[in-house]
């Protein structure tokens, strides 16, 4: 009615412009720190977007999403350690390994629901953490340095920070686009139907288990890509990148940004990581503020940032509409 312009869309556009022009800003102000920070934010946002697909739209409360970050990252690191730097080999292996892990874990954990699902995904992710931490050949708990980024035969040079940032940003946009297309397709409607009433979806003839499993695998693969990017970004991998608190961070991003909204997870990733950075600038003990803050978000701001923007937008529009209101009242 009011056209496509709402407060939320305005903020989305601003965020996109900021993300797209960030390297330009960094170049002119010589602010490498912001570029590094936002490269990490964009990569984590990709993982959060993938989690939003299963958590926000599919209602699958996975507490093991960081496992794919580790698996994607270790696929890159292990191959690099064996002397294979070709990105055309590394990246498909990273995606394939994450997809396979998601398939096995998903097939087992989707047999259950609710709290069981949370605990089981958490437990399997921790299993992956311990197993990878136990392999001495690839550094064990100490991690592994990657001496050379993925090589794409002169096509793109990931060593260049700006190029790498744009690669990450392009993949994030692609991820948001894919999730948006998926959830609006027939497939996505089945997934969302299964979230609100699985028994009914099954009764009308959808094999929801298979739909959910496929959705779980897609999300896992996307998160694996994020892991591959993380490895190339830090040139170092360690089991800590898949520790369970990292899975918790990803859930926080999704909920903080606003579940089941296309850009919500991106909002959440930016907000959480910028907030972390800001708080850790104030005090060494920043988590003592962050913890209660999370609790407050859970208790009082269920829709997250996205919901807040929508609410603010409607409130503003209602305010704008007021001058016209008396006419209708008098009639």
């Amino acid at each position: 009615m009011k056209g496509a312009f709402t407060l939320r869309n305005g903020v989305v556009v601003l965020l996109l412009v900021w993300l797209a022009l960030l390297p330009v800003y960094a170049h002119f102000t010589d602010d490498q720190f912001t570029l590094t920070l936002f490269t990490r934010i964009v990569i984590m946002a990709l993982a959060a977007v993938s989690l939003n697909l299963i958590l926000g739209y599919g209602g699958m409360m996975s507490f093991g999403h960081a496992a794919y970050l580790g698996i994607g990252g270790y696929a890159i690191g292990m191959l690099a350690h064996e002397g294979i730097y070709n990105g055309f080999i590394q990246w498909p292996v990273a995606l394939g390994a994450s997809a396979l892990f998601a398939l096995v874990i998903g097939a087992l954990s989707l047999r259950t629901r609710g709290v069981y699902f949370i605990m089981i995904t958490l437990a399997f992710a921790q299993m992956a953490y311990y197993v990878i931490g136990g392999i001495d050949r690839y550094g064990g708990d100490d991690g592994l340095t990657i001496y050379k980024d993925s090589q794409f035969g002169g096509l793109v040079n990931l060593n260049d920070h700006v190029t790498f940032y744009y690669v990450c940003l392009a993949l994030l946009f692609a991820g948001v686009f894919i999730v948006w297309r998926l959830v609006n397709s027939r497939f996505g409607l089945v997934i969302q139907g299964a979230r609100s009433n699985e028994a009914r979806m099954r009764a009308i003839g959808f094999p929801t288990y298979r739909y959910k499993l496929l959705c779980f695998v897609i999300a896992g693969t996307m998160a694996g890509l994020s892991g591959a990017l993380l490895a190339n970004n830090a040139d170092f991998i360690s089991p800590s990148m898949m520790y369970w608190t990292r899975s918790g961070d990803l859930i926080v991003m999704v909920v903080l940004g606003g579940m089941a909204s296309p850009f919500g997870a991106v909002f959440g990733a930016v907000a959480l990581l910028v907030l972390e950075e800001a708080l850790s600038g104030i005090t060494e003990y920043w988590q003592i503020i962050m913890g209660p803050l999370l609790l407050l978000v859970v208790l009082f701001a269920r829709g997250g940032i996205d919901g807040l923007l929508v609410q603010l937008g409607t409130w503003w529009q209602a305010r704008q509409a007021k001058p016209g209101a008396p006419e209708r009242v008098s009639a």
């Binding site: 409360m61 087992l108 709290v115 605990m119 089981i120 311990y130 136990g134 859930i251 988590q287 209660p292």
Partner: protein, 305 residues
């Protein structure tokens, strides 16, 4: 053979310890339908409280008693201030809210006790080995742990199955509105149950403290094992968590002790050295996967919820 019996006792001790944690977790979930990730923080707090009291007074028994009491108080306060507001909400809210609590508790401990960690020294009478069978001696402390946890398990069984409070707890688990309508102060009951779960976690933490060091985040890894136990045993079932905890305790301990050697007989020495530790840390998760395939709702599911 000596070693085998010793490892079995280790398995028993570890299993019983897991039971203390899992029982609290499953009690709180079964009755309040609350997923509490911060259960591991209470385990950590129990250890820190006990270590502090021990450092002040030098009395181990006093440290244990005050440690459990302090965790009970913290647990009940936590219920009143935070958890109460989470009942009836989505499980995702529980996960996020209690995740926030973990961050808070870890940082609070770092602020109060410093990052270095502490130790809880044992008194002399618990340090000497005891001859359990002719020719086989075992740590007196671990034996007393087994005795204490068995006693606590029996007490828990008695409270839940044989007392009025236990009857209310069980009634609350099956229909909370009805219990409330019958005039039971359900709020107080919930606070008590949460405090009980916290005290069990605190006891587990301070009992493990002399064996390992008291440090930040010590509750997190063992909490995940407690989750595995709960999933295997069936959420909400205390009997199930006892069986599953013993199973996990034995398999984990014996697997770590013997699997690498057994692999070495089949595989080459190098391959066994690599695969052994990784595989033995996977064993209990494989057990969990197996249980899920056969009985997705756990061995002793409480049924209905």
């Amino acid at each position: 053979m000596t070693l085998f019996i010793e490892q079995c006792l280790n398995g028993l001790q570890f299993g019983l310890l897991l039971f203390l944690l899992a029982a609290g977790l499953t009690l709180v979930f079964g009755i309040m339908d609350l997923v509490n990730l911060a259960h591991g923080s209470l385990y950590m707090l129990g250890a820190y409280f006990a270590a502090t009291v021990a450092a002040w007074t030098g009395n181990f028994v006093l440290a244990v008693i005050l440690g459990v009491a302090a965790t009970l108080v913290v647990g009940m306060a936590l219920e009143v201030v935070v958890m109460r507001r989470l009942y009836g909400r989505d499980h995702l809210d529980h996960v996020l809210g209690t995740f926030g609590l973990i961050l808070f508790f870890n940082e609070a401990v770092r602020l109060i006790w410093g990052p270095a960690g502490m130790s809880l020294p044992l008194p002399a009478w618990l340090l000497m080995p005891v001859e359990v069978l002719p020719g086989i001696s075992y740590s007196a402390y671990k034996l007393s742990l087994i005795a204490v946890t068995l006693a606590v398990a029996a007490l828990l069984y008695f409270i839940v199955m044989r007392t009025r409070i236990g009857m209310l707890i069980r009634a609350g688990a099956s229909n909370r509105e009805m219990v409330g309508a019958l005039g039971v102060n359900i709020k107080l009951l919930y606070t008590l149950v949460f405090g009980l779960g916290a005290a069990l976690a605190g006891l587990a933490g301070l009992m493990q403290a002399p064996i390992l060091t008291v440090q930040i985040g010590m509750g997190e890894n063992i909490l995940i094992l407690a989750f595995v136990v709960t999933v295997i045993g069936g959420i909400g079932s205390i009997r199930g968590s006892l069986v599953a905890a013993l199973l996990v305790g034995f398999i984990d301990t014996l697997g770590r002790a013997y699997l690498p050697d057994m692999l070495a007989k089949v595989l080459s020495h190098n391959a066994a050295a690599t695969a052994g530790p990784a595989l033995s840390s996977m064993l209990i998760y494989l057990l969990m996967a197996l249980v899920l395939i056969v009985k997705p709702e756990g061995l002793f599911s409480a049924g209905g919820r």
